[in-house]
Symmetry: C2
Subunit: 318 residues, 2 copies
């Protein structure tokens, strides 16, 4: 937990951390069970190497923030936790695939992810591409199962929502804008204004974070007004998530190397921190936390954990 | 059309070719409409470059054999052609994604596909990876729409079937076995026996061809015995498709370069032609056509077009 949050809400903090960690452990366990079953089933033996690469990329890490958001949003609507975890696991598989493909030499060319070699370093490039493809495909397999929800109409709504959040108008399109923002395809494509940066972020990381919350509402057959409320909440915390990330990028580098500008600046990529300054970005972040809290008003005391989540996302230090 | 088929069934042939071409044109038109709508919709502008790469890779080519199989299988069960075309288009999107990723430098490193530069040559590697990801994701978006079928249970069954056919136990696992068969990861993984080759092919190309036929039955709420019949048909023509491919590989090279062995042999990869010889492979192919025809017996005269399809697949020259 962040220092600020720990200072201001020590009791809420301990309880929030416990809930976040519990959901992470359950997600890890579920993903392991799902991947192992997929590797074992059917008449046809699965190639060992691709199974290992999918396990390597899908298991063993992260805060599992996305499944947590699905589980806690679903809880607002009385959804069985097992269903929410299945949907959350599917979303996490898409998140993991996106990390594997974004790290590839042709994309961001990263060698390390959470202190471990990236998939193409631990295995090889072909295996990493295929493992990403396999994780993305497997996400839809998981969503389609009755264990995710007994109602086929709910499951197909989840499939549609995930495909939209991950596709051309979401993650895939956002990663493309991100590459363009680095000047990969000539300077003309480079977004510079605040609206361009917000659009890029809303697509690349925001769409999936928003869908995590929408998924909880879909699972709970939420009435439209309440679905819209958690959708707006998801959108706002997505923006907060990205500003917090950009602040970490700047402050991390400044602290360790004395460089004024971090990785994004080195790539010639504008962030909200560049456009608003550090103080301006912090003010925007505080404003977004307030907005996230206000979107939860209809849920009263039940919204407490999601209010904590908004503060956690804004104040995280890693 | 192939020379053999043209010789033995001239009238059936002309009618078959007309039907194949009609379905290809309808699929092309539908894919173009779907991709253009996806590029235009929503508040967020889609990045031009990824849209172009997805259009480049998804449009403008091929026999569109997969949608044809879905349309014709669906016709056996009285499915509206528009529904079958939507499902067929989704399957074709997965086929197109697999070609884009398989062609990548880290995979098969092909510069040409159907006489045009491959996606990573026409654009760049990052764009090709993302275009493939986008096409795969879009396939599930298309399947999830009510235009594919009004019944959500049917749509979710299609999602499940496509995810399985494309995933670890299908296309992704099969491509991994294929890379292993070339000795990429050491000789231990190399399949050599007939069963190994059949397994690789059943996963890499067979699973999707089989699913094309199963999809038609799912769309038509087919009774189990009839679904099993078209599933078996799809499995058999998948095997025939691959043997025909292997024969083309050997004969193409022999005719042009006088080399006894083609591309597969150059990669150290066993095919059924290696294992059975050209005459043995031809005999197996003839046997598979007979078997495909016999699986269609329950459909009587209605199965004529799929019988023609089996012969077309076995006798094709390109």
């Amino acid at each position: 937990m962040s220092r600020t949050a720990a200072k201001s809400h020590p009791a809420a903090d301990a309880s929030f951390a416990a809930k976040l960690n519990a959901a992470a452990a359950e997600t890890e366990h579920l993903l392991e069970r799902l991947l192992d079953a997929a590797a074992a089933e059917g008449e046809i033996a699965r190639p060992h190497r691709i199974v290992e690469a999918m396990r390597y990329s899908g298991l063993g890490g992260g805060k599992r923030l996305r499944p947590f958001l699905t589980v806690e949003t679903a809880a607002l609507f009385g959804v069985a936790r097992g269903h929410a975890l299945m949907a959350g696991a599917a979303i996490e598989l898409v998140h993991c695939y996106s990390l594997v493909h974004d790290d590839l030499p042709a994309m961001d060319n990263d060698d390390l992810r959470r202190g471990r070699p990236t998939a193409h370093k631990a295995f090889d490039e072909a295996t990493a591409i295929l493992a990403g493809d396999g994780l993305l495909t497997f996400a839809f397999d998981v969503l389609a199962r009755p264990e995710t929800h007994p109602d086929a109409a709910v499951r197909i709504a989840l499939v549609m929502g995930l495909a939209r959040a991950a596709g051309l108008g979401g993650m895939v399109g956002g990663q493309m804008l991100d590459l363009a923002a680095e000047g990969r395809f000539g300077k003309n494509d480079t977004p510079q204004g605040e609206q361009d940066v917000l659009t890029l972020q809303a697509m690349k990381t925001g769409a999936i974070l928003k869908f995590c919350c929408v998924a909880g509402a879909i699972l709970g057959h939420a009435p439209k007004a309440r679905l819209d409320a958690v959708s707006r909440y998801g959108q706002v915390i997505g923006q907060a998530f990205q500003i917090a990330d950009d602040l970490l990028d700047v402050e991390g580098d400044a602290a360790t190397l004395g460089k004024a500008a971090g990785k994004d600046a080195a790539h010639g990529k504008a962030t909200l921190v560049d456009l608003l300054g550090v103080a301006g970005a912090r003010a925007r972040l505080a404003q977004l936390v307030l907005e996230a809290e206000s979107t939860l008003a209809p849920f009263g005391a039940d919204g407490a954990i999601l209010r904590d989540a908004a503060r956690f996302i804004a104040e995280r230090r890693a």
